[in-house]
């Protein structure tokens, strides 16, 4: 981690309470969002950490009554984009064996619901691989639209682009996903 460009001020009690609560309530969601974007633990960890530092700095500009998650997703998105630009390419995308999601290792003790079970065995893995094959922008649009269930308008605000751009990225991403998943399913049936 680099040193902050500007010094951080010591926390006031309110600021500390805000950060504490934000981390305990939204830390997991933020980390999972970052992980889905980057597909690896180290980058997800750094992104999450930097996002909360930014929340700490900017806590007064959080508007009560608005969605904190949308706010921090926007922050994560911007940090991720900056980092992509800095690296001029993709994040190192790999899922180390140790940290692979449990569901994909066939170790989940109880399939609580048949759909989950089906998803894990039949489509979960091809799907997560297909997601990883999308461009960062396409992947993010799919995550926000289909997993987080934001509207196009909300996604446009989070990603800082037009609704038309959201729409066309989603169209392309979905067409690609369907092709990738269908191919994977055909292979499994053989």
């Amino acid at each position: 981690m680099g040193a902050p460009r500007a010094p951080l001020e010591p926390p006031t009690p309110e600021q500390s309470a805000f950060l504490e609560r934000a981390m305990s309530q939204y830390g997991k969601a933020t980390y999972n969002f970052a992980f889905r974007l980057t597909n690896n633990e180290a980058d997800a960890r750094d992104l999450t950490q930097d996002a909360f530092i930014r929340v700490y700095r900017a806590w007064r500009s959080f508007e009560p009554g608005t969605s904190f998650l949308s706010w921090i997703y926007r922050i994560v998105t911007n940090l991720y984009r900056d980092e992509l630009r800095r690296r001029k390419g993709r994040f190192h995308e790999e899922i180390p064996e140790d940290n692979a999601p449990q569901a994909f290792r066939g170790e989940r003790p109880l399939a609580t619901n048949p759909i989950d079970d089906y998803v894990d065995r039949q489509i979960g893995e091809p799907l997560s691989r297909a997601l990883a094959d999308l461009s960062p922008d396409q992947r993010q649009v799919v995550i926000l639209a289909d997993i987080e269930e934001y509207s196009y308008q909300e996604i446009a605000e989070i990603m800082g682009c037009s609704i038309g751009t959201v729409r066309s990225r989603l169209h392309r991403a979905r067409a690609l996903l369907r092709r990738l998943v269908e191919r994977a399913q055909q292979q499994q049936q053989r």
Binding site: M1, G2, A3, P4, R5, A6, P7, L8, E9, P10, E14, F18, R21, M23, Q25, Y26, G27, K28, T30, Y31, N32, R36, T48, Q49, D50, I53, R54, V55, A58, R60, S61, P64, T66, S67, F68, L69, W71, R74, I75, P101, Q102, F104, R108, D116, V119, S128, D146, I147, E148, E149, S151, Y152, E154, E157, I158, R167, R174, L177, R178, V181
Partner: protein, 165 residues
């Protein structure tokens, strides 16, 4: 000859993003068209699979992250003017601070300072009720300009993500 719904239109339809008139036309077409209906079902299924796969692969946040964030905050040293400028954010901070410094009124200013914050953590708590309803998404309506402000507004670029990587 019937014109089928385009793939793009079906994606928008499944995401509930069609204008009312277009949405009604799509519905009317789907009643009569098995081909498009099966396309819609395929898109819906993909959406469900994406969500189920996401739920199944959800992770806990590594415990070290919290500590690392606090560590970074504690380790930070305030700049010489940080305390002063933070007191006068609503005003034009530097000139005022300079005047006060020159006049030696720093202590007076500090005692008169009142935090403009509303108990923001209270609002976060209120939000938690909504967010606890679903594991992944928080449905809370519009994001306002504050989103942009938080990222760009007035704050020097933060921890410079990965700057020294």
């Amino acid at each position: 000859m019937i014109e089928h719904l385009s793939n793009d239109l079906i994606v928008d339809f499944v995401h509930g993003e069609l204008e009312p008139a277009a949405d009604a036309r799509a519905h009317a077409h789907l009643v009569t068209c098995a081909t498009c209906t099966s396309e819609v079902n395929a898109e819906r299924t993909l959406r469900e699979f994406l969500r189920d796969a996401a739920v199944a692969s959800e992770r806990e946040m590594p415990s070290g992250i919290n500590a690392a964030i606090w560590e970074q905050i504690r380790a930070a040293k305030p700049g010489p003017f940080a305390a002063l400028t933070s007191l006068f954010k609503p005003m034009i901070a530097i000139p005022v601070a300079a005047v006060l410094l020159a006049g030696g009124y720093f202590a007076t200013a500090a005692t008169h300072h009142e935090s403009p914050s509303i108990a923001a953590s209270y609002y976060l708590q209120a939000h938690a009720v909504q967010s606890s309803q679903g594991p992944l998404s928080e449905r809370t309506g519009a994001i306002r300009a504050a989103v942009a402000e938080a990222y760009d507004g007035g704050y020097p670029a933060t921890a410079a993500y990965g700057a020294a990587r």
